[in-house]
Subunit: 337 residues, 4 copies
Amino acid sequence: MIIVMKNGCTKEQVDHVIAAVEEKGLGTNLSVGHESTVIGVLGDKTRLSVENLERMDGVDRCVPITHSYKLASREMVPEGRRVKVGDVEFGGEKLVMIAGPCAVESEAQIMQAAEGVKKAGAQILRGGAYKPRTSPYAFQGLEDEGYRLLRKAADAYGLLCVSEVVDHADLEVAGQYCDMIQVGARNMQNFRLLRAIGKTGIPVLLKNGIASTVEEWLDAAEYILSEGNPNVVLCERGIRTFETATRNTLDVSAVPVVKENSSLPVIVDPSHAAGKRSLVQPLALAGVAAGADGLIVEVHPDPQNAKSDAAQQLTLAEYEQFTKAVSAVAAAVGRTV
Amino acid sequence: MIIVMKNGCTKEQVDHVIAAVEEKGLGTNLSVGHESTVIGVLGDKTRLSVENLERMDGVDRCVPITHSYKLASREMVPEGRRVKVGDVEFGGEKLVMIAGPCAVESEAQIMQAAEGVKKAGAQILRGGAYKPRTSPYAFQGLEDEGYRLLRKAADAYGLLCVSEVVDHADLEVAGQYCDMIQVGARNMQNFRLLRAIGKTGIPVLLKNGIASTVEEWLDAAEYILSEGNPNVVLCERGIRTFETATRNTLDVSAVPVVKENSSLPVIVDPSHAAGKRSLVQPLALAGVAAGADGLIVEVHPDPQNAKSDAAQQLTLAEYEQFTKAVSAVAAAVGRTV
Amino acid sequence: MIIVMKNGCTKEQVDHVIAAVEEKGLGTNLSVGHESTVIGVLGDKTRLSVENLERMDGVDRCVPITHSYKLASREMVPEGRRVKVGDVEFGGEKLVMIAGPCAVESEAQIMQAAEGVKKAGAQILRGGAYKPRTSPYAFQGLEDEGYRLLRKAADAYGLLCVSEVVDHADLEVAGQYCDMIQVGARNMQNFRLLRAIGKTGIPVLLKNGIASTVEEWLDAAEYILSEGNPNVVLCERGIRTFETATRNTLDVSAVPVVKENSSLPVIVDPSHAAGKRSLVQPLALAGVAAGADGLIVEVHPDPQNAKSDAAQQLTLAEYEQFTKAVSAVAAAVGRTV
Amino acid sequence: MIIVMKNGCTKEQVDHVIAAVEEKGLGTNLSVGHESTVIGVLGDKTRLSVENLERMDGVDRCVPITHSYKLASREMVPEGRRVKVGDVEFGGEKLVMIAGPCAVESEAQIMQAAEGVKKAGAQILRGGAYKPRTSPYAFQGLEDEGYRLLRKAADAYGLLCVSEVVDHADLEVAGQYCDMIQVGARNMQNFRLLRAIGKTGIPVLLKNGIASTVEEWLDAAEYILSEGNPNVVLCERGIRTFETATRNTLDVSAVPVVKENSSLPVIVDPSHAAGKRSLVQPLALAGVAAGADGLIVEVHPDPQNAKSDAAQQLTLAEYEQFTKAVSAVAAAVGRTV
């Protein structure tokens, strides 16, 4: 950490700050320049709080030099982590394709979806059981019954399955039925949930919050990793910006930024970013071209009558065409589907 | 709701959409203009999903006309709701002053804080027991013991108290100790928590999410109201923008916007918006001038050694001066402290 | 346009609004629903101002249904426009590759750059003559001499050239030397400049403003088109968001959104969006995968010693490798380089 | 400036960076910590480019410690600058009140506006002559005739006047008619215009760009100051965020942030931030409470029939009431109107 002193600070103030740092068993390095005085802190910065230092007389601000996440960092596993879910592996040459409806609505619906996405080449079936909805008056999902039907459909067609958990209290049930659990954008900083997942070994798909920086996203992953669960796959699903032409703005740069800073695999969710069917394929292709390790896409046997997110769900036929387009781009960047 | 048809849609497509709407028992109103064809939907729009309609051939988009929240709306209680917490009332002429440390750190600390803020005129003592922190390696609060100490300090000095609940599982304990519970920015869309609070009658301070629109904020309040708890006080605490000079951007406009659209009282949290002590007072005064019904401010007997948020906490002496400045502005807009 | 009346508006207010609309020679369509009263306006909405209507008693708000741009719209040229610059065509199967240094710094530098990018397959040489810089103390470009050297280098290696114009007063000189002129992000709403360019027939590369919506971007294009110059190519160069890991956030969705709403070709500038060399290629590939009609990339013979934007400029060797990667993805989406 | 080396950088890389810095005549300070190696740069940083250093092997990133603006900084004039326009002074105890229509539409209109705002206590009359409009089909102002009528109206009622200049070519004419010129949000980084204004001594009202940081805003002011014109008054007019309830988000924090970092006076424009009449007063009061040195407000004798921005313009009667409310809040913070 670097402590930047105020222009015109006194020698006494500098000495006082140095003393405060050294009292914590840390080293210091004083640099007095023409325009600014800066104190470098040497040692384990977790012993110091930026904010407490910023209270001290003569201190202008502190500049952190290292990330707060450690286990999630690239340095920790320079070759990159791979996360296995059943016989599927995230982070290898082969992209992982996850598809299925926004919500599990009925046995017939999820069965039909499973059959279709399997045929198109997906390996993991998605389907929401607990749906976080902006309005209390909107469809909230089939809850535990949703998990059960999802499992049944996945088994019927030789697929793995993933579904969202919105609360640590549901984790046990979800873990019985799902091969992988999803933490949605609204829960990226639900630290109780993250810790609880960290105490299991279950693979987790961690979406970014719509207003979270990549740094905060990796800090959230660190919550899970630091509890002992290394099976974290990140999922970029769009951020909130001023643009209104799309529901959210897919931050495709997040893919290479994650790859540079973290060892975790990262996939892309073009459906939620776009909010509109016609944009799903271009955004998916962009994600793969930028280096994503897989895609999660909303596909419904009858989107017209879907109970949620109808506008962005692909039909089974569209998904089949979609996977062909993805294959071509994957091959162009040295990956397979 | 208004259904805007695509330029060049066919008569058949229009008929098909009208039939779909009328099948749900709703009326329609067709308007064929030079540049656009628009279908107005008459009746209870909750029977229809925007997204399903947007899937139909020939439909460009749907434009909602009414809000999704009802109970939280201004129309429902045109004169404005008042929320009582003990003998304190939010929404009346008198501003409610909430103050105390970011986190309860020890009995001595919270006792000293309580004494100081009481002396300066605050009515409600704040103090975090469960602290949601970006990094897993940061101080996470005293948990239940924090609630207990907060209550003890409040009682010792004749104050009410408020503390954050980060999970529905903690609600019962929190309810035993606190007069009001706070839902923080990260949990504004933790719908499980909102529903659980809605089932109690406990007064709640609902902060906005850092990337939530006012509309979504009122939808979150609706979750609580629709479960039967009308005691919701909103709290503007800043939004995330591109600006880096402040930790968040206080959206002071949200105060009059809430007043126009909702019946709920709204207070301002200048401490979290600013992230910096020197900005707390100007932002607090701005909030009061814009019509806020109260203020929640972080005050610590020894900010220099605070375990969290040190940079933005006022000293007890600063808070005393602060309340005088607030009083003057309150009087200028016809309010009292 | 749709006029949404306030809840509880009177019949007189409705009649008054209808009269105001009809007075302008426009038709109306009244729709009285359970929860809302809406008046549709039929005819040429440019005769009416949204804001004036919003002043009328009983009016809640107006909702525009059609875009304000016409000539730039997809409807105007459903098959898409193609823009020719010399023998190069934007909007066809073949991607247009533009490359060169951030700024023209010397004859030797631009000559070397031209030789390198030509060899790698670029068709158009870029190089800034007038550089808009955030600080007045930063290098501001060689000005007119920059245009001259750029032309010389382009001619020497059989390339076309493009350079930014920051002011209408420079347009004549720029037009003498450049085959295409660029309007940068900061000038996207410099309407005087846009109009002046519109009065020439010179091809123009119009970057989006960092905080402009796609709608406003197309409105800016409309300024040029409406003056008689149809040779507009759009260039997505990133938008400003809260994320700090990249200089700007490449809004890759803007590519398909532009394709749906506008007839104009659109290319991507990964260099300015990323602000960092290692991200340039992933973002470029993402742009091509999403459907971009070309790429503009900063390439410098000696980035280490560049006078501006050093961090994001590719070396000539890197650019050669880069074009191969682009070719592969282009082929995967049915395009050529 | 601080140069942060990459984790695992070699000693050779460090030596190479140090040599590069020292070659420019600057000093260095090496700090080797447990987790990071940092090189402090001592001396005039303008001799070095952050981006060039970031290209060097082993360098992770550079962290600027000082601002790029100097003349606009607080340090330069710790007691704050005062800017005189005629007999009116910005930056003193007395707030400066600027009011008038969005655009000058006719002699009758501007005369009536001048009479009304003078009566309510305004000192400076505003009125747009050149109007930057998003769409080419919207009213673009009376141009030079607008300046002339504004002057005439100001003179008739003993007011000063301010109007926007959108291009350096209009500066001479504007300077003949106006006491103060305004640089609008869209031109905050029109550096040609800023430099041209800097070469005159005319007082200038510099609005922030809707996506500009305070740092960039002060850099823009520096362009004017560095050319020799110290008469710069800043004007906060809202920033672009994800919120759609207001046209822009008034960043009221910018007022105290500017006061801390800069010596320049700063006023608030609540009209453009709000975009809606009912929000103008709460935002104006918030601005004054936060420490603004004045207000610029849109007032029209007949807003209903205004040619632009009708929705946000106050009537003359509303403005009279408005100034009373402002007076009360001004007094509460030790200012006068």
